[in-house]
């Protein structure tokens, strides 16, 4: 697959609002919950479009988790949105006990993934949401890399039931997939023989850029969009590790607890190969534009290239 940076898809927030709208029209049990961030997520219009299927609970994320649990008890299908740090870090015990432990249903969407929180800065920047959510037994944890994928994952989470966490950016993502693509397994976007780059979210595009740069050096990289961090598609991962003998992960998240951890754990248990992880290490967030912050935290194609060069030396 050739990387295309064409921004011809809808914004991710628009995709969220449209998909919830579509599901709610078909199923009157669907209900969208917002905690005073409707206008940030393009869901304000749902209040008039979906009477009885949308509620702005105010700035109370802990209570929002409990409300969703209660709504699930009476048969509703809650979709919960706020910025990632509020729906995970802030309300974690509520999410863990009232939804997870109680075995209820909720699709939880955390927006402004990692550095894309931009000018909201360190208080609003989450590099640990995936790590937290991986610890919730039976929860599914996804990071969307593209609008078509995001829509698919929202529908899949709705259909599958249980607790799902979908991490996303709010603005436009790069265009990676066709409208009718299915996302039941990790997506192998490029097949190579020298190294495997595993990434999710905004780092998939960086991984494809890195693969282009590496090919100029004669290094042939496999690139996998591991949009489902839990459950992890171990089969696809091992197959690629066997074929290439070295792995680099790339994530807009802390390397501890996130995709890098998940991949390292799976490889260590099933097929150990040299591995390096690109991501945030022992740092909090800060203000800045996404491109600037990607450089600050080393979340870019050049860092991936450097780590690939290092990992190949260990083969």
């Amino acid at each position: 697959m050739t990387f295309s940076s064409a921004l011809d898809q809808k914004e991710m927030r628009q995709t969220y609002a449209d998909t919830v709208h579509e599901l709610a029209k078909k199923d009157d049990r669907v209900i969208a919950l917002e905690a005073d961030l409707s206008s940030a997520m393009s869901t304000s219009r749902l209040e008039s479009e979906l009477p009885g299927q949308y509620v702005n609970v105010g700035i109370m994320e802990a209570n929002m988790m409990g409300l969703a649990a209660g709504l699930s008890v009476v048969g509703r299908k809650p979709f919960i949105h706020s910025f990632g740090q509020f729906v995970t870090r802030r309300a974690f015990d509520q999410l863990f006990v009232s939804l997870g432990y109680a075995q209820l249903n909720a699709v939880i969407v955390g927006s402004d993934a990692g550095v894309t929180a931009e000018h909201n800065g360190g208080t609003h920047m989450t590099f640990e949401d995936i790590g937290l959510m991986r610890e919730v037994p039976n929860a599914h944890v996804y990071e969307a890399s593209d609008a078509h994928q995001f829509k698919y994952l929202l529908k899949k989470a709705y259909k599958d039931g249980g607790v799902h966490y979908i991490r996303t950016i709010r603005k436009k993502a790069v265009n990676l997939y066709d409208e009718n693509e299915s996302f039941e397994k990790a997506k192998v976007l490029r097949n190579g023989k020298d190294v495997t780059i595993v990434s999710s979210g905004i780092m998939v595009a960086e991984s494809l850029k890195a693969a282009d740069l590496l090919s100029q050096q004669g290094i042939d990289a496999t690139v996998i969009d591991m949009f489902s961090i839990k459950p992890l598609d171990i089969e696809t991962l091992i197959e690629a590790a066997k074929a290439t003998g070295a792995v680099v992960t790339a994530e807009n998240h802390n390397v501890n607890g996130g995709l890098g951890s998940a991949v390292a754990e799976a490889l260590a248990e099933h097929y150990p190969v040299p591995l390096y992880r690109v991501g945030v290490r022992e740092r909090f967030g800060q203000v800045g534009q996404t491109d600037y912050l990607k450089k600050v935290y080393g979340l870019d194609a050049h860092t991936i290239v450097r780590e690939v060069e290092r990992v190949i030396e260990r083969k």
């Binding site: 105010g58 209570n63 209660g70 009476v74």
Partner: protein, 283 residues
């Protein structure tokens, strides 16, 4: 449904008796906060909550959430008496592999609507249940009991704001004001001030009743059910360890592992209750 106050009194005695027997079987537990909610449970399950074991998933049933989850033993005694499970099961409280854990679990215990125990969370769920039922046009009620100590948790006040804003008249909240939390008196640890005034300020209809008086509790529930446009808070003036004179006087009575002296006093209450219950059954 139990029609008379005599019936409700008998039911309350049964709940207290089986709560004590259940706790005695494991040898330790949350005595104080279980005993202070016996009367309200008797009124609710004896008269107001329409739910039957053989129709427990009826969407029009009334819902009950014990937000102060450590009162679980009293709820289990009540659910046993409502025939949700056997007496044999009742005595497995907190035993390995039991279906009756210290704090209620909706996936383990028949009749338990919501998993609670992490304080502050049950009232949010109860509010969600009431909200969902109201949205769907149902006329059933959701009842919840929160502890006075539990109200230290900010989440409770988030839930109250939501309930009042959405005018959930189908939500009736009891505050078990037994004046104590785990480490001591609420007034020393975190002054609750005036619960009735606080709840009114949060948009509830609120009143204080004697939490040991079945008639008063019942009358307050009847008033709540006639109310429209706002949720109701019924503040129960209770005693931690209520109905067991020895435990009422015991300072540290949240979680007790009874000594021989404690057990002898608890056994005296059990014997008295047994006589009263036998007398009641013979009538």
């Amino acid at each position: 449904m139990l029609a008379t106050q005599t019936d409700l009194q008998f039911f309350a005695n049964q709940i207290r008796y089986y709560t004590l027997k259940e706790l005695k079987a494991i040898g330790f537990g949350h005595y104080g906060g279980s005993l202070s909610i016996v009367e309200v449970l008797a009124v609710l399950y004896g008269k107001h909550i329409h739910v039957e074991p053989d129709d427990a998933k009826n969407p029009d049933r009334d819902y009950f959430v014990l937000s102060k989850g450590h009162g679980g033993p009293a709820l289990y005694a009540t659910l046993f008496l409502k025939k949700f499970f056997s007496e044999e099961t009742l005595y497995t409280l907190n035993q390995n592999g039991t279906t009756l854990p210290s704090h209620p679990d909706r996936n383990l215990t028949p009749g338990v609507e919501m998993t609670t125990g992490s304080l502050g969370q049950g009232i949010s769920a109860a509010t969600g249940i009431a909200f969902g039922n109201k949205l769907d046009g149902r006329t059933n009620y959701t009842y919840a009991i929160v502890g006075d100590g539990e109200l230290n948790e900010g989440q409770c006040w988030e839930a109250f704001q939501f309930a009042a804003h959405h005018q959930l008249e189908n939500l009736i909240v009891f505050i078990d004001d037994n004046k104590k939390q785990l480490d001591g008196l609420t007034i020393d640890i975190m002054n609750p001030f005036d619960f009735v005034e606080k709840m009114k300020a949060f948009g509830f209809a609120a009143e204080l009743v004697d939490g040991a008086n079945l008639e008063e509790i019942d009358a307050a529930v009847e008033r709540a059910k006639k109310r429209t446009g706002k949720p109701t808070a019924i503040v129960l003036d209770t005693i931690k360890g209520q109905g067991v004179p020895y435990l009422e006087k015991k300072a540290d009575n949240h979680h007790i592992r009874p000594t021989e002296v404690d057990m002898s006093a608890i056994n005296s209450t059990l014997e008295e209750l047994e006589k009263v219950l036998e007398g009641g059954q013979n009538q």
